[in-house]
């Protein structure tokens, strides 16, 4: 156990473990030191200078966010001088910020705006120092507005250290310092994988998702269009946060809401997740039993991960499942299977995906294979945050809506489909079905607890028909290198593969921690969202994808069997290395 130390904050005597920062220690005695650049999910960058506190015996002020409390320290967190300095620093920041809050994507949801309101600043005190920096929306997934940046450095940390992408960096210095794609190129030219973690951590409107909401309104108004919608697993677990109900499952209310918004059919990506498992588990079975392709098999549900692999780990292409991501599968099925069954002209269908993700915005036009139905399979992607905004625009009392059901035949899901949203979920779902495919028997206990939770890399051995299957789960791009290198080393040494099956999600925590999810994510929030999904799974009667009656029906009526010629054409894709980014 860590040594504990004793100190005083505002004359309150307290005892905390050694290494606790002044900020955390103050919190433990109900003192809230204001912060701006600090995000609870990230290590301190110590850039803004708002959280300064006074230490007795020193004429310097210290940053509470990054200074550990020391034995017998006497801290003052608030006095007239400290408050006035904080105010001056805020005013300096405002003098270098556009302050056009009313027309900003973060209006009413901005950390700077909130702090300014807390300090009661009502005029621009210092002369404006304008920055003339262009907006970059080249990716059509993430929009950079460097003029609004306060240089907290969160996005840089996220991009470089958390995600190992190194697309964003600081450029120039002094007052000209700005964040930008490294090399001052367009974001679309950069190694950016569109994971959107930068946008989820940005305190202001400097990084936002590409705003697609108007396109959805337009489609809904068009009498000629047949608008259908799907919701991703992770959305149901997080949308409540935007309305003051964190940790609640909003599946039924989301269905009702989307119907009221005017969608003609409300589907669930969870159904397609079940289909993904049918295909992917079959691929695993083939590789394991028939040895058609090398092991390990690696999941590809995450478009950011696919992009990352195509840029940096092209030697792993042969290990990639060829299966598309679930929302693409649902897209193509809606414009083929569903359209045929219901006699709808697929050219009129507009498929909208509500995703926890910014990368899906990029994925829908990633390659020709995203037009497998003959049309663009998914037309528009909205993030969870955009949907929250849309609900407010529509004037619907979302949280008090009655629960409704999804629309058949692309809506019903097994428990396996819903846990796709949490790290390890795809692995767990695949194990449940792969076991059945290989042994022909159902599991007595379907929970695979070893792959749950937020450990950076989770390794486990599962017993399938007497054979030990070694699996690994990585989330957060910086953690994937470890797993891939183990595979590479074994390959080089001519040894047996260290894993049979690997799941990778770009965002920490998986999709529940996605780049399009509500702001202020921390590991606690991720755990809370994951819990919603695992409870959803537990409450389901059918918990394995292959048991989902509608999945069975899909294969019977339309696809024949997993990996059939039709499945391959509609549900699978190919990958191409982009060696220019090779490290």
């Amino acid at each position: 156990m860590a040594k504990s130390i004793q100190a005083k904050i505002n004359d309150i005597l307290l005892r905390v473990p050694e290494g606790t920062t002044i900020l955390e220690a103050a919190k433990s005695v109900q003192i809230k030191i204001p912060t701006l650049c600090k995000h609870a999910d990230l290590p301190p960058s110590a850039s803004c200078g708002i959280c300064i506190v006074r230490v007795k015996g020193s004429n310097k002020m210290l940053r509470a966010c990054c200074t550990p409390l020391e034995e017998n320290m006497e801290i003052t967190t608030h006095d007239p001088e400290i408050v006035s300095i904080r105010r001056s620093v805020l005013e300096l920041i405002l003098s270098n910020h556009p302050n056009d809050c009313l027309i900003c994507g973060r209006n009413n949801n901005c950390e700077l705006q909130k702090l300014v309101a807390d300090f009661g600043i009502s005029e621009e005190y210092f002369p404006k120092i304008k920055r003339d920096l262009p907006k970059d929306d080249s990716t059509k997934a993430i929009v950079l507005e460097p003029e609004k940046c306060i240089l907290c450095g969160r996005c840089i940390y996220v991009c470089q250290d958390m995600q190992d992408v190194w697309a964003l960096s600081f450029l120039q210095r002094g007052i000209k310092t700005r964040f930008s794609p490294a090399g001052d190129i367009q974001l679309s030219e950069s190694p950016c994988i569109k994971c959107g973690q930068c946008s989820a951590h940005c305190p202001t409107g400097a990084i936002l998702e590409y705003y697609d909401t108007p396109k959805v309104w337009k489609a809904l108004q068009d009498p000629d269009k047949y608008c259908v919608v799907q919701i991703a697993p992770a959305v149901r677990a997080s949308i409540g946060e935007a309305f003051g109900y964190p940790g609640k499952n909003f599946t039924g209310k989301l269905y009702a809401l989307l119907r009221r918004l005017g969608f003609k059919a409300v589907f669930d990506t969870n159904f397609a997740a079940d289909v993904t498992i049918m295909e992917e588990a079959s691929e695993l079975e083939q590789r394991l039993i028939k040895g058609t392709k090398p092991l390990p098999l690696i999941t590809t549900c995450c478009p950011s991960w696919v992009d990352f692999m195509e840029k940096f780990h092209t030697d792993m292409i042969e290990h990639f499942s060829s299966c598309k991501s679930p929302h693409e599968i649902l897209g193509v099925l809606s414009k083929t299977y569903y359209a045929q069954k219901n006699n709808i002209d697929p050219s009129k269908i507009v498929m909208v995906s509500i995703m926890p993700c910014t990368s899906k915005k990029y994925e829908i036009t990633r390659s020709d294979e995203m037009h497998a139905s003959g049309f663009q399979d998914v037309d528009i992607v909205l993030t969870t945050r955009e949907l929250a905004g849309m609900i407010k625009q529509a004037g619907i009392d979302f949280t008090n809506l009655p629960d409704e059901e999804s629309d058949t035949i692309l809506g019903e899901y097994a428990g396996a489909g819903t846990i796709f949203g949490a790290t390890g979920g795809v692995m767990e779902a695949a194990v449940r079905t792969a076991n059945y495919f290989i042994t022909g028997k159902e599991l007595s206990k379907v929970d695979v607890e070893a792959v749950r939770g937020l450990d950076k890399v989770k390794e486990a051995e599962v017993d399938i028909g007497g054979k030990k299957i070694r699996v690994a789960v990585a989330h957060g791009m910086a953690n994937v290198e470890y797993v891939l290198n183990k595979v590479r080393e074994a390959k080089k040494a001519g040894k047996e593969t260290p894993y049979h099956f690997i799941e990778v999600m770009a965002c920490p925590g998986g999709c529940i921690g996605g780049g399009g999810q509500p702001y202020m994510v921390t590991d606690e929030v991720r755990m809370m969202r994951a819990k919603v999904l695992y409870e959803d799974d537990k409450a389901k009667q059918v918990r394995c994808s292959h048991q989902n009656p509608y999945v069975k029906r899909l294969y019977k009526e339309f696809l024949e069997k997993p990996l059939s010629e039709k499945s391959e054409k509609l549900l699978h894709t190919t990958y191409k290395g982009v060696p220019i980014y090779r490290r």
Partner: protein, 578 residues
Amino acid sequence: MDKKIIYIKDTSFALDRTKDVHAILLNGLRDRGMQDSVQAVRVADIGAYNQGVVVKVLPDTTYYGVKDEDLGRILDAVKQGTVVKELAARKEPRQLRIVLRNCGVIDPESIEEYMANEGYQAIKKVLFDLKTQDNTIDEMKKSGLRGRGGAGYPTWMKWNFAKKMASDQKYVICNGDEGDPGAYMDRSVLEGDPHSVVEGMMIAGFSVGASVGYFYIRAEYPLAVERIQKAIDQCYANGLLGKNILGSDFNFDLEIRLGAGAFVCGEETALIASIEGKRGAPHPRPPYPSVKGLWDKPTVINNVETLANVAYIINRGGDAFAKVGTQTSKGTKVFALTGKVKNSGLVEVPMGTTIREIVFDIGGGVYKNKNIKAVQTGGPSGGVIPKDFLDTPVDYENLQKLGSIMGSGGMIVMDEDDCMVDIARFYQRFCFDESCGKCSPCRIGTAQMLGFLSKIAEGRGEIGDLDNLRRIAQSMQRAALCGLGQTAPNPVISTLRYYEDEYRVHILDKKCPSKKCRDLLSYKIIPEKCKKCGLCFMNCEAKAITGNKDDGYIIDMNKCVRCGRCFEVCKFKAVGKE
């Protein structure tokens, strides 16, 4: 060393004739048959600038502004072992050379000459007499040596912290990223006595238990880099670096890393980031580098001048060193004496010497015998010390009390022509340019302060601007992340403290009392003095002067761009400036 040595360098700003003068000297030597007994060496730095040709006859005679025709007389004097009294600069009795003990005395590229002057005796003493880290650090403690980089932190404490850390690897770094405008003592030591710094590094390395040391030298000092590299190579060749140094079990390696010209990289955490190959931006402290530094290992960073003291302290003993200086500040300090002073150059004086002694006794007084107004110390982090405080003995505490700092040792003499708003603006621009941009108080604060100062200097100032300057300064001092930002307001604060009146005149009367701030100047022709020659008219490129040789001339201030050309060309002082 039977040979007599003469160093020469042309320090003129305009044209460097060192090569020509050197040739004349060589001829002169040959003519006198002295070519074998006297060696004339061209040096890159001679501790002075803009003093014309400087000739230094070792050990202690220096001639400034030497004309070609004087060279013969100097050589004759060298031959006779005398001095040409009317040409030689006054001896500098108040200087005490510890840091610069070898500079200009030995050949910096010769390890033998360094060894002949107590060189590498200190590391021997450490390895075989003092034997332990504690004994060595104890000697440093007795000496009372404090960091010469600016903050004045006791060197032994820094070493002791790092020594106490348990770690498989520790580092020592020599901070040679000297960046204060006008300061060049570190460069002179690195160029003139590289081995003393190398030896200081070895002793520091031994004391803290580091096996690797880095020289971080700014790339703008190519000769320093070359000489340190040569010194390192010579040490390897002589068994002074590498494994089992001098047969002991002490292993130590040295490497050079180049700085790329960012002032902030002299800040220790930014310097570490730079060596690690990252953007040169500071990190919050704690953890201090002595706990978690280069590549997260305990690291000691010392300034060049600090390290140059170390071997001397070990050789002579900490107690002997501590006899020099004041109660709290021991030893000597090298100042780069510049500005409006007759003899500018590097001076090394015992701590406690008064500013007056430095400026008047050593520097020879104010240039053109004008009235001294103030002395600026500490560079962009420092402040101005008005003439009323010239008798203050220089040490860390006294300078701080006056609102300035020791800094790295820049000392700029200002006379009545220097405007304090202009000085503050100059330093603020420097900090504005050099802010790394990481923390908002410094990034935006320097820009806003520069904005207000420019406004005042350009005649647009309002009286409330002074409060704004003070408010921003306070928030930077308290909330900026690193030393650069915390001290960047000092020049403004100190000029406001002593010369607020001058600011007020700029703001309220729109006048610059020192006639320095261009936008506040106005020119007019004084008819009583004007001879109607038309020279001002012909030289005015802005066509602001009208008139003719019969009626005389007048200046239209609306058209005038205040270039000052008319004022300069008028031979009859008929152009008035105010």
